[in-house]
Subunit: 500 residues, 2 copies
Amino acid sequence: MPSAKTQPARGMRDFLPVDVRKREYVIGVIKSVYERYGFEPLETPAVENIETLMGKYGEEGNQLIFKILKRGEHEKTGEADLALRYDLTVPLARVVGQYQNELPKFFKRYQIQPVWRADRPARGRFREFYQCDVDVLGSRSMVVEAELIAAASDALVALGFNDFVIRVNHRQVLIGLGDRAGIRHDHIEPALTTIDKLDKIGVEGVEKELSARIGPTSTTKLVDFFRELASLDQAADIASEEASAMKEKALNAAILGRLVEFVGDHEKGSRGVEDLRSIIELSEGTSAARRIRLDPSLARGLSYYTGAIIEINVSDLTGSLGGGGRYDNLVGMFLGKDVPACGFSLGLERIIVVMSEREMFPPELISSPADVMVTIWNEDSIAESIALATELRREGLRVDLYPEADKMGKQFKYASSRGIPFVLILGDDERAHGELAIKNMKSGEQIRLPFELLKTSPQRNVQHADDQTVKSKRNIEALLKWLRNGSKAGEAGDSIKPGA
Amino acid sequence: MPSAKTQPARGMRDFLPVDVRKREYVIGVIKSVYERYGFEPLETPAVENIETLMGKYGEEGNQLIFKILKRGEHEKTGEADLALRYDLTVPLARVVGQYQNELPKFFKRYQIQPVWRADRPARGRFREFYQCDVDVLGSRSMVVEAELIAAASDALVALGFNDFVIRVNHRQVLIGLGDRAGIRHDHIEPALTTIDKLDKIGVEGVEKELSARIGPTSTTKLVDFFRELASLDQAADIASEEASAMKEKALNAAILGRLVEFVGDHEKGSRGVEDLRSIIELSEGTSAARRIRLDPSLARGLSYYTGAIIEINVSDLTGSLGGGGRYDNLVGMFLGKDVPACGFSLGLERIIVVMSEREMFPPELISSPADVMVTIWNEDSIAESIALATELRREGLRVDLYPEADKMGKQFKYASSRGIPFVLILGDDERAHGELAIKNMKSGEQIRLPFELLKTSPQRNVQHADDQTVKSKRNIEALLKWLRNGSKAGEAGDSIKPGA
């Protein structure tokens, strides 16, 4: 028999049940936080017309887009007319263009879907990965930035993170800094890229690289500015947590002061500084308050940002847990008129990496696929086992049913190997006494419970409420209680007596 | 400013918030039912190696697979090395091959993900659509068929369906019927395709088409068989629901009897009839009992089925709500040894079409994006509005915050247009009295509530439990109560007095 290749495609992953549960847990928490902020869900197709995506992500982006062959006759020509979604922002811009009359004036949407990039796969870098985006379209108010930051912060807190830093900067402030430092306009982009590495290569490293890139004259003033910021940070270094919150506040105020001085009356730069001041003030009452840190060295790669830029980091992860910013011009490419927009994207894979390493997942997530397993005593009692499973499922229990009339030992072993905490047995002796046996797979303890009235007759499907149903319900409840209380058999009610 | 094309790609759809909520509702119900049966979630990549998919779906399938260009240098060659997932069964077979040592002996998985087919788009036929698959691998027991049928039935019942028919047949029975009718082996496939049209073209139509395809001699015996089945159906036609359940049971028994007679000692055929008998018996105690209907004319297209085949229909939908069956040979293509398997797939899009037409969605799904909207009185009070929103979100309310200090009338109008039932106002007068105003957007009713203690101070982020927090909590609770009780202001507690 031929055996085909079974690996997933390069850079892609299969998610077995435990992985899916982890992912769904994280997505569920993020969603519920975003819903609390009044964001609504949007979904777009995995596949876009190729011209929708090409040219939106720079030359490197164009190369990393997965392109899909035209169908039928055209497959031979090698022409591609479709492509896989590369991010969630360009599809959002397209959607706003397409449904402008149906969407509210302020469109607050979240979108949690996979994207595909033909990057070279590496540790933690995949060709299919999820983005969790949240965006507000239609307002230039800094309330939007404050809300986005608070929502992302709340989501991380709800997942159990407590040590992240929200770095905030502003594109126009960066341009102001560059102008005031006397850097030529065509040198600003490369200068920003170098400054962005400040936390990795330090002030001296930046100075060296900048000097080589844009010449020593314009370097000096800018580097002096960042050297002074670094000294502010060291001066404010205090230990206790309450004090640390005060420190962040004082430090942000000091940095704002230095920015005001340096940028002066540079029009765009000074407006950017005021935006930053607003964001900090508006965030005071939110969970982000203690965590926001002005960082004039933050640049972020994407060229479509026009205002505030944001990145969230934890110390044990290279790269960020998420990032975002304001992009007031992108939607215009689809709509023909500008729509102000600001968004934030949490990286699902990175969040999961850190949560796994720190063991932050609730243990019940990765435990058992079912609350109880019903065994099959012999070929003749299969229908009774199915009826019992049906009854318990109706009560909301997750019930596995062993599918074959194997030896009991084999069935027990299977339940154990799957981590299922209880098995139910309808043996000859039990059935003769109108009972069933429950075995706790951890303690080995086994008790009996009246079962007779649990039995399903054809009429049970018809709704009625006679004595039999009531008694049957009481038995089910005793059983459920016992299952839910685990091995504490004493609490399971009067009807339970210890058994074989 | 250039304005790009904004439609989604041909045959693909954007899902705006109301659509997403409908889809998530259906998926959530299906998932929770499958979890109750002990099924576990699996996810596989959207993209597979092209050789994993090619040749698995017949020649027509090959043509409908979306193929992805090799990256980089190779893009010019027009060569495709990847392809979009075409169904969820082939990836499952690959996964079982890849992770055989990690998976349990009986692998019960559900998988709810999109698939892509380059079909010609039509009403209700899309190029991207979701499948909701549930499969059991590792057992030949008919318990598996009974469990799958019960799970699909429970899922549909949980969604509010009560009028579906579960048609069941068996591939080996079909082969037995063909053999015993004297049909040549190479004529059996086309004969089955014709018989599958029985409910559309009737016995006479089938007779005519069969006669043309396989000749009149072998047609007669087979057509007589189906003519007799049709007369059984008419004879059993009784009205009331209870009687109708009896009718199904009697009818299934009669059909089984006729199959036993017709198939006789045909080895595969008679074993298939016994499988069908088991499935019906084992389903007695499940929600599927009244709904199962043996239908010897059911053939289903996919060639990989080897045993039972199943299809679920409602009268107001051409095509099925879902279908499935046993396929004991497919996994072997990846594993090198056969693994018995049986599965069922619900069609999400069709379920949604019928539910929408029948208005089966809970009304709250398509109502408001938020429980309450906080307004912004003026530029100076923005931070207080944000703090109020933060406090309410902490209590689990879904709170929208109007982002700009527009005129109140404009903010109210926005809330109304979005269907948000309440707005909160922190006006000058309210704040001077330490209060806030709540407006019911439907009735226009407006009341006031003490707000002073709601105000957030920096210490609120630190956990403590002094008097102030307690009082603040009490106010929040009164507010929440009022919001949750709608316009019944009297129930909102002592602290609320009617306002402006």
